[in-house]
């Protein structure tokens, strides 16, 4: 029996996270997860900026699901202030979310292939993702932080040539998703590394309250889009559900969701209403008193915002819960009984985003307080880590 710390800095993980693994030979018998290495204090920053400035801070929380964060925040403030969004703006907003889901799923497929060692496939998925990013750049002006969403709808209107390009892109993605599905179901090397690896049964998934594609791969048909926010209350789509719950099922769910997203985009572009795209807001107007919540389906799962206002220009409290925080316990659970070599694949299987997840860390030391110098703090940190 031996104990191995994996992380915080480890070649298998793209971002810092720590797993304490107990090994029996090459098998993992117990795993414990420790998070909090990339805490940036964004919630506190949100309390210091005005409600208009925080739109652009919120999209910096995550580089991949930036417009989901932005949209979730904006949707919450719209509920708080009673701004009625324009219909065309809402449709463009939904289009941005779906384009983002496409690029996120393609990125994740690439990362999974990279962890397994199929570098050619990694290149193919990221090449296809680049086409989605080109469209997003034309829509918002930047590749990653596109700032395409604002109060009452979207910031930039769609031109006719851009609509044609979006239709061509969705046809391209529809064609490519067939190729990915075929690859995921039939490639021998891929099946050997993912079939039966990291299996999360339906009952376990319900107990650990996982969200998003991880839950859908385990057979739980949950999707916040089905609650009917933004343009989803009109757009026809089906929730993709698989039964196996392993990494292979997760990959299949995401490959099929590419198809669903492409179809939603086609529907939106076809049924795009005419009119204004956003509502003008005075730069230093005050928020009404109150509190609200907002939920959207980010590419990784359910994203949750809680907003509280005390009647000034700044929000009093912003609480963010990201999908990775809900899913990370499932990794620690499913690692048990697998080979050490499968740990990166299982960890990558939930599409983790540590930068999203780390909000605040509370270490309960029963009310002790002490002022320390930097060297004392480092010594204390080393001792604390060795002890626990």
């Amino acid at each position: 029996m031996s104990s191995v710390p994996l992380g915080p800095l480890h070649p298998a993980f793209k971002e810092p996270i720590n797993f304490k693994l107990k090994l029996e030979g090459e098998f993992v018998t117990d795993a414990e997860v420790r998070i909090g290495y990339t805490h940036r204090g964004i919630e506190k920053l949100g309390e210091k900026k005005t409600w208009i400035q925080f739109i652009f801070i919120s999209e910096k929380i995550c580089g991949i699901c930036s417009s989901s964060h932005q949209g979730c925040y904006v949707q919450g403030v719209e509920r708080l202030t009673g701004i009625v969004p324009e219909k065309r703006g809402i449709y463009i907003r939904t289009l941005t979310w779906e384009l983002e889901r496409m690029h996120s799923h393609l990125l994740w497929l690439g990362v999974l292939m990279h962890e397994i060692g199929i570098e050619t496939m990694f290149m193919y998925t990221w090449r296809d993702r680049e086409r989605v990013l080109d469209i997003l750049e034309k829509l918002g002006g930047r590749r990653v932080a596109y700032s395409a969403i604002t109060y009452g709808g979207a910031r930039r209107d769609l031109s006719d040539s851009l609509i044609q390009q979006i239709i061509r892109l969705s046809d391209f993605i529809l064609e490519r998703s067939k190729f990915y599905e075929n690859f995921i179901l039939n490639d021998k090397r891929f099946l050997a590394r993912t079939k039966g690896i990291g299996t999360l049964a339906k009952a376990e998934a319900e107990e650990l309250s996982v969200v998003g594609p991880v839950a859908r791969a385990s057979g739980i048909p949950i999707d916040v889009r089905k609650t009917g926010y933004a343009a989803y209350y009109e757009a026809p789509f089906e929730v993709v559900v698989e039964k196996e719950g392993d990494v292979n099922a997760g990959a299949l769910v995401r490959a099929k969701e590419l198809e669903v997203s492409a179809n939603i985009i086609k529907w939106i572009v076809k049924n795009l209403p005419q009119g204004k795209i956003n509502v003008e807001v005075a730069p230093f107007s005050k928020l009404p008193e109150g509190e609200t919540i907002s939920r959207v389906e980010a590419p990784r799962g359910e994203l949750f915002y809680y907003l509280k206002s005390n009647g000034s220009t700044n929000l009093e409290r912003i609480k963010i819960r990201t999908p990775t925080l809900a899913n990370i316990q499932a990794v620690a659970h499913t690692l048990k009984g697998h080979y050490l070599a499968d740990v990166p694949v299982i960890a990558a299987g939930i599409d983790p985003c540590m930068g999203c997840m780390d909000r605040v860390v509370t270490l309960n030391e029963k009310g002790k307080k002490k002022v320390m110098t930097e060297t004392e703090l480092i010594d204390y940190g080393i001792k604390w880590y060795e002890k626990g």
């Binding site: 900026k49 208009i52 400035q53 925080f54 739109i55 652009f56 801070i57 910096k60 199929i118 050619t120 496939m121 193919y124 090449r127 680049e130 080109d134 750049e137 034309k138 918002g140 002006g141 930047r142 932080a145 700032s147 910031r155 930039r156 031109s159 040539s161 851009l162 190729f179 075929n182 690859f183 039939n186 490639d187 730069p283 230093f284």
Partner: protein, 109 residues
């Protein structure tokens, strides 16, 4: 086998990476540019900026009491100043080259 057929197909395709930013309708939120002749010195851009990249200073560029200078190294390219400028004095350029050895190169009027 699926990969091999895909690889052979790709042998006969043209290169995927090409410089696309030169296309006409390509919208890029690049470096900010200030048309000082249109500026009225209202300082709305300074107040609305989330990253405090714009500051109002007294100088002899115009007859105004104060006029804005932009620190591009602090800018997050959100475009709130462009949206709220009442006389459209601020605008985005297509330039994204933000490399320099000295901090003073980023500060401009």
């Amino acid at each position: 086998m699926e990969l091999l057929t895909e690889a052979i197909k790709n042998l006969f395709k043209r290169p995927f990476t090409e410089e696309k930013s030169k296309e006409k309708d390509w919208f890029i939120r690049g470096k900010l540019i200030l048309d000082i002749s249109k500026c009225t010195g209202c300082s709305l851009c300074e107040k609305v900026c989330p990253s405090k990249a714009i500051t109002m200073v007294e100088d002899n560029r115009t007859k105004l009491k104060k006029s804005p200078i932009i620190d591009v190294s602090e800018c997050i390219f959100c475009g709130l100043c462009v949206d709220y400028c009442p006389t459209k004095a601020l605008a985005f350029t297509k330039s994204c080259a933000l490399v320099s050895y000295e901090k003073k190169d980023f500060v401009k009027g």
